[in-house]
């Protein structure tokens, strides 16, 4: 049995302790925000927050979470009440197939939470450097992160 705190709720789960967190979230908790992209921590599609830090859940064993608090894409907001980062992605129409977008939103959320000031374009590019997108949505994603910083009232 593994105890897991996800999006503010505690769960008791009968899973093998070596199961990657991604499979537990997707298959046991039916949280489909995080995506299986590579299983190798290379692309970022599976990103979740563990105690506020962006973590690649495809290679992160569920037992390693321990008492950590997990937040998934669903834990940030809903279509009716999106988080500022989600709001900005919707406003910029920053998704094509959208498969990588979970990772972009989660990485950007961790990145913006950790800073006071509004990031430069080059800082945003660096922050997302290890997140891959195949559709070529990058320009809109950068614009969305800038917009999110403004929505969150980050200073210049």
């Amino acid at each position: 049995m593994v105890t897991l705190n996800v999006n503010g709720k505690s769960h008791q789960l009968d899973v093998e302790p070596d199961t990657p967190l991604l499979y537990v979230l997707r298959d046991n908790l039916e949280l489909h925000g995080p995506k299986f992209g590579c299983g190798l921590a290379q692309c970022g599609a599976c990103t979740v927050l563990v105690d506020g830090k962006a973590v690649r859940s495809c290679t992160f064993a569920v037992s390693k979470v321990a008492r950590g608090k997990v937040i998934t894409l669903e834990g940030l907001g809903t279509p009716q009440k999106p988080s500022p980062v989600q709001r900005a992605f919707i406003d910029e129409q920053a998704a094509q197939c959208g498969y990588c977008i979970n990772g972009m939103v989660m990485q950007a959320t961790a990145f913006l939470a950790a800073r006071q000031s509004s990031p430069s374009e080059s800082e945003i590019r660096q922050a997302l450097q290890n997140n891959l997108c195949r559709c070529g949505t990058h320009q809109r994603i950068i614009a969305a992160v800038k917009r999110a910083a403004a929505l969150m009232g980050k200073g210049a």
Binding site: G37, Q42, T72, C97, Y99, T137
Partner: protein, 741 residues
């Protein structure tokens, strides 16, 4: 007429009761279910009811065989329907890619979803609108000239209170009408929906995790499967040690000849079993040595020659020319590189198959699955669900056939999820492409003759590529090769008096080929547009001015001038003089009329070349684009941005690697793609021509980056790059060839 009995009960069994969140069930109004109760839903392309249903609640369901692969047709097609039918946008729901409910409008390929799929829907809507107005004439006793329509209500123009709503005229009844190709379309001047940037309905769900992807779909009692592919492409399975997965709870082996898979109740158990399973395979080393690929291509047997253009006498013109130029261009093998590996769910029972798939071609796939299961296509029902972007035929269809075969073998619903190495290693590939061009120039540097040859695999264009499931399981199938229409755009987009272009269709190619975004048109435009730049340099002419010597099509001239103007094109011959420091800067242009038949585009690349390391960065890309009538400008912009960025990645970085046995580019480390820091700024100008037909948008602009970047690098450092991808070692190796600036 291909039809399938659908009843309310079938719908509920097929969707609602079985799954927690299933897009069709939630997107289909209850009236649509009631309407089809006990009836046959027509799907023939000539019937209005195949495309449209108007319900009692005032909503409209539009049915399309095309699918939204992240391209935005989920909003653009309803815009075309709402506009032509005169109903509010929010009333239109779209059903995509369900083989029982939608007309077969062809696979979602070739930049044809709007141009063909949308135009068919629009004509059905125009026919419906005309019929509804005629019904209103009867009901109101007023001639049609005195009637107007707004928001699904027909009213007397002089007396708007005299009115009748569509629902009162037709609500939930079928039209029983053939699509009238002459039903009048609205004047573009009246358009209030078409031509507007409207947000896509799927974006909020994709951004918040509520959108149902294929990978999220589950059936009760379903098992998770993983396929185990041979360690060498042509190897056969000699033995399986089933005891090797015994410690993994609930996991079992599924095998038919060399088709090998494991199934388990939990997904992680299936993954672990696939990794743990011990199997022995025969040896196979049938791939050509990678370093000798182009010799291999030249030595491959030619099945036939296709002539793309043959005008005048280019051989004589070139022989008598003042100057002769010849160049060879090659383009590496590419993989689709979808962010999510392929996935599908199949439930095969009693010879009937219920399938959920992210395929770009549900109607085609139905026949493929039927061939694998050896059943009638009418016993296969495919429903589309969004996968990760596929950009052509990637692994989706193979994974679907895998799921169908495994489900048939074990008699349970099965979900197949490919792993990363399955997708990179086993999706069909964009074939290696080689092009050679010869031209003759007169003393003023004008092109007097153009002669080009292309080496590409032959194409059984109406056949799907061999499926892995059938190949490995020993199921009979046609030995078809189909890389798509890769000969298109071999003829340059300039009407030279003497020109010939021949496609040598090769009998075989190292990897099972398929189409990857802009198949052939990208490679051919790359060669043509670099070569004309080489001619311009030989003539000492500015590359834009030089193209204008030959371009006669006013829409082509307009995009070329617009791209140059946006980029503040500095008119002069290449290469550029006065470079200093270790970073050299250059600009290059490219132009194409897609398939020499539709969408016009021109692009300017700006590059920075590190003269020490040979690294190339594309910093900005400018595109001018004319696709005729624009349905949704923001959707067009998104498609162009995506094509430029994706193709900059393909141009600068991408090349499949292999050993004599197998693909060795099996993940993102061994097949790198463009990252954020390398992404260019994309700027564009859309030329909207509302009175013209709406043409394709998803592929044409992807022709531009390879030639524009090659031309920009020449401008920067005087080196011609004729081999995609343009990697630093290739540039460094050519340093001695730099043209003097």
């Amino acid at each position: 007429m291909a039809t399938l009995e659908t009843s309310r009960r079938d719908f509920l069994i097929g969707t609602g009761t079985l799954v927690v969140s299933f897009t069709l069930a939630s997107s289909l109004p209850q009236d649509a279910l009631a309407q089809t109760a006990g009836k046959t839903k027509p799907v023939a392309l000539d019937q209005v009811d195949s495309f449209l249903a108007i319900h009692r609640d005032g909503t409209v369901t539009a049915y399309t065989g095309k699918v939204d692969l992240g391209t935005g047709i989920r909003i653009a097609l309803p815009q075309m329907v709402a506009e032509e039918l005169d109903v509010p946008m929010e009333k239109v729901k779209l059903v995509e890619g369900d083989t029982a409910l939608t007309p077969d409008q062809g696979p979602t390929w070739g930049s044809l979803s709007i141009q063909i799929g949308g135009v068919q829907l629009r004509q059905a809507a125009a026919t419906a609108r005309k019929a509804l107005v005629e019904m209103a004439v009867q009901k109101l006793g007023i001639p049609s000239a005195d009637l107007a329509v707004k928001d699904g209500v027909v009213f007397v123009r002089a007396e708007p209170k005299r009115r009748v709503a569509y629902v009162e005229l037709i609500g939930d009844k079928s039209f029983e009408l053939k699509v009238d190709k002459d039903a009048p379309l609205k004047s573009p001047k009246e358009h209030t929906i078409v031509g507007q940037s409207m947000p896509r309905p799927d974006v909020p769900g994709k951004v918040t995790g509520t959108h149902t992807y294929m990978q999220d779909f589950r059936l009760p009692g379903m098992l998770h499967a993983r396929v185990i592919r041979p360690p060498a492409i042509g190897a056969t399975l000699e033995g399986v040690d089933e005891s090797s997965i015994k410690p993994i709870k609930g996991a079992r082996v599924v095998r038919q000849e060399s088709f090998l898979a494991v199934v388990a109740e939990s997904e992680w158990a299936a993954v672990k079993a696939a990794r743990a399973l011990k199997a022995t395979w025969s040896k196979w080393e049938g791939l050509p040595e990678q370093s000798k690929l182009w010799e291999h291509v030249r030595a491959t047997k030619i099945a036939k020659d296709d002539i793309a253009v043959d005008r005048g006498d280019p051989k004589a013109a070139i022989a008598g020319a003042a100057k002769k130029l010849k160049a060879t261009y090659d383009f590496a093998v590419h993989t689709h590189g979808s962010m999510g590996p392929a996935c599908a769910v199949a439930d095969v029972k009693g010879g009937k198959a219920e399938i959920w798939s992210p395929s770009q071609a549900p109607h085609w796939l139905r026949k493929e699955v039927a061939a694998v299961l050896q059943v009638d296509p009418n016993d296969v029902h495919i429903r589309y669900l969004d996968g990760a972007g596929c950009y052509g035929r990637n692994g989706h269809e193979d994974a679907t056939c895998d799921a169908a075969l495994i489900s048939k073998m074990i008699g349970k619903p099965v979900r197949v999820q490919w792993m990363r190495e399955d997708e990179h290693g086993w999706d069909p590939k964009g074939p290696p492409t080689l092009i050679e061009i010869t031209a003759g120039l007169d003393p003023q540097g004008n092109i007097v003759g153009w002669d080009s040859e292309l080496w590409v695999p032959k194409a059984d264009i109406t056949e799907w590529p061999r499926t892995l499931a059938a190949t490995l399981a020993g199921i009979p199938q046609k030995e078809a090769i189909n890389p798509g229409n890769v000969h298109r755009n071999l003829d340059p987009s300039y009407p030279f008096a003497h020109q010939k272009a021949v496609a040598h269709r090769l009998d075989s190619t190292p990897f099972r080929p398929s189409w990857i975004r802009t198949p052939g048109r990208m490679q051919n435009t790359y060669a043509n547009e670099v070569f004309i730049d080489e001619c311009a340099a030989a003539a000492g002419a500015d590359p834009v001015q030089y193209r204008l010597r030959y371009l006669t099509d006013p829409r082509g001239i307009a995009v070329l001038r617009a791209a140059a103007s946006m980029a503040k094109w500095d008119s002069r011959p290449s290469p550029r003089r006065e470079q200093s420091g270790s970073i050299a800067r250059g600009r290059g242009i490219a132009y194409v009329k897609y398939e020499n038949a539709r969408t016009y585009c021109a692009g300017v690349a700006e590059v920075e070349v590190n003269t020490q390391t040979g690294a190339i960065r594309c910093t900005r890309f400018y595109v001018a684009h004319d696709c005729g009538q624009i349905i949704n400008p923001d959707g067009v912009r998104a498609q162009i941005e995506g094509q430029i960025i994706q193709t900059v990645s393909r141009t600068l970085k991408e090349e499949l690697k292999w050993s004599r046995s197998r693909v060795t580019s099996v993940d993102w480390a061994s097949y790198p793609i463009l990252r954020f820091a390398e992404v260019p700024e994309v700027h564009m100008e859309l030329i909207n021509r509302p009175a013209e037909p709406p043409w394709g948008v998803g592929e044409p602009a992807a022709c531009l980056p390879p030639p524009a970047i090659s031309n920009a690098v020449f401008d920067a450092v005087g080196i011609r790059l004729r081999s995609v991808p343009f990697t630093p070692p290739k540039l460094t190796a050519l340093k001695g060839t730099a043209a003097r600036s």
